[in-house]
Symmetry: C2
Subunit: 407 residues, 2 copies
């Protein structure tokens, strides 16, 4: 597997665009398009929130029932959630506009929205936006970059990743983009993520690989514990790499799954590190847990702890808060047996052992916590399962951004 530059336009046959449609934000791009020259097999995972935004309902239909998909239209600013029939009709009209402009069937168009809940989308601006998008789309890396920028809300950086890998003598490319900064606690974040690939693979295996992988990638990140109404992750594969179609769980399948894992992990970490107001990416790795599910619960409990997150923002070596968060995770363990290390790229400090804090140097730990990437490594000494979760620190800016998000 080779890591390459680019995002959704990295794979063969994919085009993208990002334009200003004036939906809610002023003077910035707020609509994006992904388009494939050939029909794509699709797989998707969507929010587990009982309250599902209209585009989520639309996309679930397309992924389940349409023979193929060929385009995705995305807007930022308004989430089209809690918008009833009018909201769903807006998805329908947007898809129709894209179908007309791109000469593809309406049910081959996926739609996605992110932004404030409860407002109706201005359909005229959306359809105008779709026209601009289809006129400006291109297969350049720059076009992918414009699309990645257009879907941002409170994100401070655009998020892309791409790789190539070999299958049956053919080079296959996979690339993706995502957005997400607040209301991020994916159970399957508003997280939107779009992955494109020229791989040839059966729809069933692609869905299986995606559903399995999100459990350890996007579902292991959290900014604020709020699971959005709009979470959407879709992958489109157009087969243009001309590899022998992957139809069984052979070596080729696992190469595909590895590539997908790299893209998902990379994008998930970028989202966590760019959490609203965040100054640091905070990773918690739990090793030697009794079961995989225990390892997931323990690691996620730590990255979700408001007190731990505030301590990291303050570079405060208040390690007891991490032990406390492990303790209320719902997983049983012996506090006397576990070990806790705080780490950055250069250093690892043992801070808790035998039920006690070690006599670590407060200033040394404080300096470590000032890194851009901070890691808590927890050795449970109970078994051989491990898991990783990613979050960020809790800052004044998180409160600022969310105390008045709508204005």
């Amino acid at each position: 597997m080779n890591i390459i530059d680019g995002g959704v336009t990295a794979a063969k046959g994919f085009e993208a665009a990002g334009v200003e449609a004036g939906i809610k934000y002023l003077n910035r791009k707020d609509m994006a398009l992904i388009y494939s020259k050939k029909p794509c097999r699709t797989a998707g995972v969507f929010t587990s929130n009982v309250v599902k935004a209209a585009p989520v309902l639309w996309d679930k239909e397309v992924v389940s029932h349409s023979p193929y998909a060929q385009a995705v239209v995305i807007n930022a600013g308004i989430a089209n959630a809690c918008t009833g029939r009018q909201g769903y009709e807006c998805c329908n009209k947007t898809a129709q506009a894209a179908a007309d402009c791109l000469q593809i069937p309406k049910d081959a168009v996926l739609v996605a929205s992110t932004g404030v809940i409860g407002m109706q989308l201005p359909i005229d601006k959306l359809t105008e936006g779709v026209k601009k998008l289809s006129e400006t789309k291109s297969d350049t890396l720059e076009a992918g970059q414009l699309a990645a920028e257009a879907i941002m809300t409170t994100d401070t950086i655009s998020k892309q990743a791409a790789v190539t890998f070999e299958v049956g003598g053919k080079t296959v490319t996979m690339g993706g983009m995502c957005k997400g900064s607040g209301m991020i606690h994916p159970n399957m974040c508003t997280m939107l993520c779009f992955i494109t690939s020229d791989v040839s693979i059966s729809k069933e295996l692609m869905q299986e690989a995606l559903s399995e992988n999100v459990v350890d990638t996007f579902n292991m990140i959290s900014v604020d514990g709020d699971t959005s109404t709009n979470d959407t992750l879709v992958i489109l594969a157009n087969g243009m790499a001309e590899n022998p179609e992957i139809t069984t769980k052979n070596e080729d399948y696992y190469k595909f799954a590895d590539a997908l894992n790299y893209i998902n992990t990379t994008l998930a970490k970028k989202m966590a590190g760019d959490g609203e107001g965040a100054t640091a990416l905070f990773e918690t790795k739990v090793i030697n847990a009794g079961t995989k599910e225990d390892a997931r619960r323990l690691s996620k409990s730590v990255i979700c702890s408001s007190l731990t997150k505030a301590a990291i923002f303050g570079h405060d070596a208040n390690c007891g808060r991490i032990i406390c968060a492990l303790g209320y995770s719902g997983v049983d363990f012996d506090p006397e047996k576990i070990e806790l290390y705080l780490e950055n790229k250069d250093k690892s400090i043992l801070v808790y052992k035998d039920g006690l804090m070690t006599d670590y140097d407060d200033d040394e730990v404080s300096n470590l916590l000032a890194s851009e990437e901070v890691r808590a490594l927890v050795d449970m000494k109970m078994g051989d399962a491990s898991a990783c979760a990613w979050g960020c620190d809790l800052t004044y800016d998180y409160v600022k951004i969310n105390a008045d998000y709508r204005s």
Copy 2:
């Protein structure tokens, strides 16, 4: 039932004190004592955190195995959690000091601590503190007030409540004090709560009434989602009201349970409203849910939502965040059927109905959200179960307090 002034010294035979012991804080009271002239039956509920502070382990022993209790010694500043054997030995020495000063058995002494995790308590200062406490204890309301002040950490106000009720021709009194502001998400907050009563009741019934009641009172509040290592709620009853002993679930029992519910609800709401950095008490009442457990989960999900809490701080009528939090609570429902009202003492505004936001006036809702007590009322229209949960807004000061709590 009559609401009266006072706290732990309201009931007959109870004395209290609060003194400066210089444990960690300077120039403030940081140790408290509750003492009963007669032996007390006790009941208690403690943190569900796997990592339990030493005083929690000590008190569980006393409540379960000692024939009676007669005193509680409490310190603020250091939590005596993650302190191993030395920490437990400190509980032992503190109890011994109290036993010596008060001429009671060591196993009749409960201890409780709140503050930073991972530091050892200065035992000499504690034993000196115990002496001062036993020399200055008194049965006045003022003494109860001093004790309630001494147990505060980041609390901004002391928290007490007291009532009287009639049982078998006798007036029974019940009073309590608590502390708690951060690390508050009781599953059984660092919340400490002490209730005293001169009621005569069997130990078993008292424990049953307490365990049943916390589910709908202290377990329904949250400041930050972090369940402490030190949560402790104990009740001491010395029988000095001379009512006929309550030994069955008769009318007298339910009078006792009602009084307990009032004290617990009042103290729990005071804790939520005084959450770290909070400017408002945020109550969510769910009515007409399918089951009581559904009602609890739905209401608690809303008061725990960081985004909703930040919106309340910003007086931002971003009602979609509440609908979103209901949606990820884990309870299934039809978003088209529910209704959401925002309320304060004077006003109730319907903001969501039929799957859509109503055309509420943003400024009117914003003004309402500026109240000291804000309520979300959710009508699920599914059954007849209801529940209430209490939290607070998420503010800059929460981050400030917790980014550098230890200094």
